[in-house]
């Protein structure tokens, strides 16, 4: 196959390929959009914002600590 023919083929592939990519991704956009309309909206899980600024080390630790302090306070 001579180079001109190959170049024609590759030009053709450029057209077909970009066409296929755009068609398929556009179709996907439409479907995703449609699905998002059909599917009942879901509330994002609200993460309770701890009022305590100390929350970093993990809730369980804090809970344990508060319990310990509470107990200590009572035991006096």
């Amino acid at each position: 196959m001579d180079i001109e023919q190959l170049m024609m083929q590759s030009l053709q592939l450029l057209g077909l390929g970009m066409g296929a990519v755009f068609i398929i991704l556009t179709l996907l956009i439409c479907i995703i959009w449609a699905v998002s309309k059909i599917v009942p909206e879901e509330q994002p899980d609200v993460i309770p914002v701890p009022s305590d600024r100390l929350s970093k080390p993990g809730h369980q630790h804090i809970a344990a600590i508060q319990a310990a302090i509470h107990k200590y306070r009572k035991s006096r």
């Binding site: 170049m7 083929q9 590759s10 592939l13 450029l14 296929a20 995703i32 909206e41 879901e42």
Partner: protein, 377 residues
């Protein structure tokens, strides 16, 4: 005794090493050096570089059909198994949420594939240079470097031009590592300061059901329109379904951790086996390295230009910089878009907005790969 000494001497590297092998061992060392000291895609370039060194050791024949690298290559890459398993792991790691939140940005991931097809044309044009002779299959395998997606490039190359695989894989991963250097100048050249400062509105929340349906939908579209892309897209969707369905976490965790790690080690070493001097040191390799950077640049430019078009059409709601993320190179390209955005406006966080086009780019290059496999393969 003299005979034994002679036999031992005749089995040394000093006696057997060729110049080409020394050169390629140095190349392997450089890849490892760049991976370690510059952080260039170390997960792949260290195994590839090391595999390249092993492949160029005389006498031992580690990359031969009975050596470890040869066995790994034959069973994992020639068969297509490794890149597909990597794709499954990538699917299990990828959150398609940002893409689902604003699907229209997928068009940026489509535009960036122009890099692939333009390079295909460029590779064929290279045939005018004496000494270089790329078939259409070769050109297609080289072009896929522009997809900026490692497993896709390896899968396509192993199918269309296995003899070029080493150079293609090295080019693909090297340029992916160089994204922070290649992309910003192009992005800045094609956009105005005002465009780059564009802030984008927060993404909507995407529900669990939408995330579960997406991989199935994507696979269905691929089945109907482009079955030749379904090995790649199918495994991506499978991994993603494992992740999103929420009932098989032990499988998705294994897919995205131990399994992908094992396959990455093997894949890297196996690719290294294609860095053997006699196969790698050819004019074609230089051509591939050149075409690769062209592919990346054109892909980036195409993404940014499509971004500018969307900026115009949406009345300035889309920052054109995120178009550059459409080439894939997940998540590097998205981070680059974010960084260039921050340079223009300190309060402009584009990362999540760029993730949509970024993962769309993965899908886009898989689709492009499907077209190439369907018509050229």
């Amino acid at each position: 005794m003299e005979q034994g000494l002679l036999q031992l001497w005749a089995s040394t590297g000093l006696y057997n090493l060729t110049i080409g092998q020394v050169f390629m061992i140095a190349i392997g060392g450089i890849l490892i050096f760049l991976a370690i000291s510059k952080g260039f895609e170390p997960l792949l370039l260290i195994p590839i570089g090391f595999g390249g060194i092993l492949a160029n050791i005389p006498v031992a024949a580690i990359a031969g059909p009975e050596g470890l690298l040869g066995i790994l290559y034959h069973s994992g890459i020639e068969s297509g198994v490794f890149p597909l398993l990597i794709f499954m792991g990538v699917g299990a790691m990828t959150d398609f949420g940002p893409l689902l939140a604003r699907p229209s940005l997928m068009i940026l991931g489509a535009a960036a594939q122009f890099g692939i097809f333009f390079t295909l044309f460029g590779a064929i044009a290279m045939n005018f240079i004496p000494g270089i002779e790329f078939s259409l299959a070769d050109a297609a395998a080289i072009a896929i470097i522009g997809g900026a997606d490692g497993p896709t490039a390896i899968y396509v190359a192993s199918r269309l031009a296995p003899e070029l695989l080493g150079a293609i894989a090295v080019a693909a991963y090297s340029y992916m590592a160089l994204v922070p250097i290649i992309q910003p100048p192009i992005m800045k050249l094609l956009t105005t300061e005002k465009e780059r400062q564009t802030k984008m509105t927060q993404l909507r929340h995407v529900g669990k059901l939408e995330k579960i349906l997406f991989p199935l939908t994507l696979l269905l579209v691929a089945i109907l329109l482009l079955p030749s892309a379904t090995p790649l897209i199918g495994m991506l969707c499978f991994g993603n379904l494992l992740k999103e369905c929420g009932v098989v976490d032990r499988l998705s965790n294994t897919a995205k951790n131990e399994l992908i790690n094992i396959v990455t080690i093997f894949l890297g070493l196996a690719i290294g086996s294609k860095l053997a001097a006699d196969k790698f040191l050819t004019p074609e390799t230089i051509g591939i390295l050149l075409l690769g950077i062209v592919a990346f640049s054109i892909g980036t430019a195409a993404g940014v230009i499509m971004g500018k078009i969307m900026y115009r059409f949406t009345g300035g709601e889309v920052n054109p910089l995120i178009g550059a993320a459409g080439v894939s190179a997940v998540p590097m390209a998205a981070r680059v878009a974010n960084k260039v955005g921050l340079d223009a406006n300190q309060h402009n966080f584009l990362l999540m907005h760029a993730m949509g086009p970024n993962v769309a780019g993965v899908i886009g290059s898989a689709v492009a790969a499907g077209v190439l496999l369907a018509i050229v393969g």
